[in-house]
Symmetry: C2
DNA sequence: CTGAAAGCGCTTACAG
DNA sequence: CTGAAAGCGCTTACAG
């Protein structure tokens, strides 16, 4: 019995075919081997004659064949999936997502997906605990994890796991095996304070997560920039520790009044939004009595009254840098993007 | 030569092992077959003795084994990945994501991921064109696609492809093969208009995407609810067509003044935010001269001055309903969630 | 209760 | 230039 006969028998036995055509279906239809189809699909044109390739591609179209990427990934290829991990989204205690979520993360996700897709990547999104995210990344065979804004957190399991490639985004900790993308935070702080000084403010307050003298996390770096700007002209500066939320800004308003400051550097637009509202409630005018700088340059800067002057962190560039490092990892690489100042009404 | 000897030879030949342990590695370490490991991993405890299971689990821990879900999915299992498709995120012409993105989508994504994860699903996120998304879903073997807010768009390739399970979110088109989750839009419109009427407004304007008499898309349904509320008390109502953005709201302000209305129903908080700012520029007070209702009850409702009274669409419940339908598909099912009214300052 | 075998859909050397 | 074979990591009947 010849090979051909055997094959035909096989074919007839499987009358009821799975809905989704496979590479084998295409191969049969085109009268070639699965290997040939694979070659054509992967652009290895030297391996197949032009006419066969043509025939194969026609069958691909005809059958509506779509490659199963999971199967392809199994043979040692990259999965072309990346995961965005945002640990700070939830209250770590309760893991509850109920309360105000900084709209910055939505922006980031959307921008990142756009850039990733243009390069042929799919983005998954994960907000669980660290230990679980290690499991997740391994299970799903992610090409890389983009770790967003972890500050004092340790992520030893993630960072040390040799099977996981990471790109640290807005994270101060240096991981020698991984890539890093961040804004020049000192410059951001400097630009912010400088504006307040330029418009004649002399009693400044920094409002945001606590800056630490011996840390290089985001708020600490920003504060450093603020201090630098102040020292240049001998202006007074203090710091008020609050969390990153609208309510925190609201709360800060009373302090601002008590301390009789005339200019505030915040570390987030949503803090600024809360502060502006809080000050209004206390009968203070912005920027008249107190000038306020935001940070991130989110759309909400336009929505508040007065509109928020802010620092744009160059998200577009940062997202490109992230994908560059995903595609061409450079262990220990640090990409630092310069922020710019966007003036509106609040300062 | 015995089987055992052969196996040992094999083992020694692969001294340099892949970093990530496989089911076979675990099997070898535990001295059982891969099948046994698989059974234990999948909780088929009847197939394996308790002592063997124990031994296997120990090795799993010891080796740090993590299952490759892609491989598992290959054997006909579900991938436990879902994709959130948001076609309306970009300008369909340019596919450019630059300009204002409604923060609602960020909220939705984050909530959905939370709910999905708690049920063991991973969420991917996709904003490409329809044709490409079909390809994407098939390639990635997604269990389901959550189609967010498509209105006049046709998605024939997506909806008709038998290989793709969809859950339509806030989409008016009825797809008999798929599940649907939406808000009771008529009620939302009704609640919004009712509030304006309650506070004595008699010249109302509906501001949002154009409502159509013969359509049951989101704005049309909301408008219907608005009209119903107005007819009950003989109040005048007109409609102004704008896109969903802050700038559109800003633009609408002049019209609102020209038309001398005293109450506005918008279809989105960001429209309301723009409108409020636009009215302020024109020297009108909100809610004094014009009362304004938002829609979605986003965090930004707190940030504006005055704060926006809005309609909460019950996102939490909706997200649960979506996942219910992902797990237990009911072709043609429609889950309708009732919205609630949240009063602040703007109305 | 346990193991060997076949298969999921793809890719990659390796012979012809 | 083309095809048969082995393998990726897992699961599932099917014999023992």
């Amino acid at each position: 019995m010849s090979e051909t006969e055997l094959k035909e028998t096989d074919a007839t036995q499987r009358e009821t075919r799975a809905r989704k055509p496979t590479i084998t279906d295409v191969a049969k239809a085109a009268g070639v081997s699965a290997a040939a189809v694979s070659y054509v699909l992967n652009g290895r044109l030297t391996e197949v004659s032009a006419s066969t390739a043509e025939r194969i591609l026609e069958k691909v179209r005809e059958l509506g064949y779509v490659k199963n990427l999971a199967a392809a990934a199994l043979t040692g290829q990259r999965s072309r999936m990346i995961a965005v991990i945002i640990p700070s989204l939830y209250d770590p205690q309760t893991m509850d997502a109920e309360p105000p979520i900084n709209p910055f993360y939505g922006q980031l996700l959307i921008r990142l997906e756009h850039e990733a897709r243009s390069r042929g990547y799919t983005v998954c999104f994960y907000t669980g605990r660290e230990e679980e995210s290690v499991q997740f990344l391994l299970q799903r065979n992610m090409d890389a994890a983009v770790l967003v804004g972890f500050s004092e957190w340790d992520l030893p399991n993630l960072l040390k796991n040799p099977g996981i490639r990471c790109v640290l985004f807005d994270s101060h900790k240096h991981a020698p095996e991984h890539g890093h993308v961040r804004t020049n935070e000192q410059k951001g702080g400097y630009l912010s304070a400088e504006r307040l000084i330029d418009i004649g403010r002399r009693r400044l307050l920094f409002v945001g997560p606590r800056p630490l003298p011996d840390s290089d996390n985001v708020p600490s770096e920003r504060y450093r920039g603020v201090v630098r700007a102040c020292e240049l002209v001998g202006v007074n500066i203090e710091a008020l520790e609050v969390s990153v939320s609208y309510d925190a800004g609201l709360y800060a308003a009373q302090k601002v009044v008590d301390m009789a400051v005339d200019g505030v550097v915040t570390t987030a637009d949503i803090i600024a939004a809360g502060l502006i509202d809080g000050l209004a409630r206390l009968g203070r005018s912005v920027p008249g009595d107190v000038a306020v700088m935001g940070y991130d340059n989110l759309p909400i800067c336009q929505y508040t009254r007065p509109q928020i002057s802010s620092i744009d962190q160059g998200l577009r560039e940062k997202v490109q840098a992230v994908m560059d490092l995903v595609e061409n990892p450079e262990p220990g690489a640090v990409r630092i993007i310069d922020p710019t100042r966007v003036l509106r009404q609040s300062a």
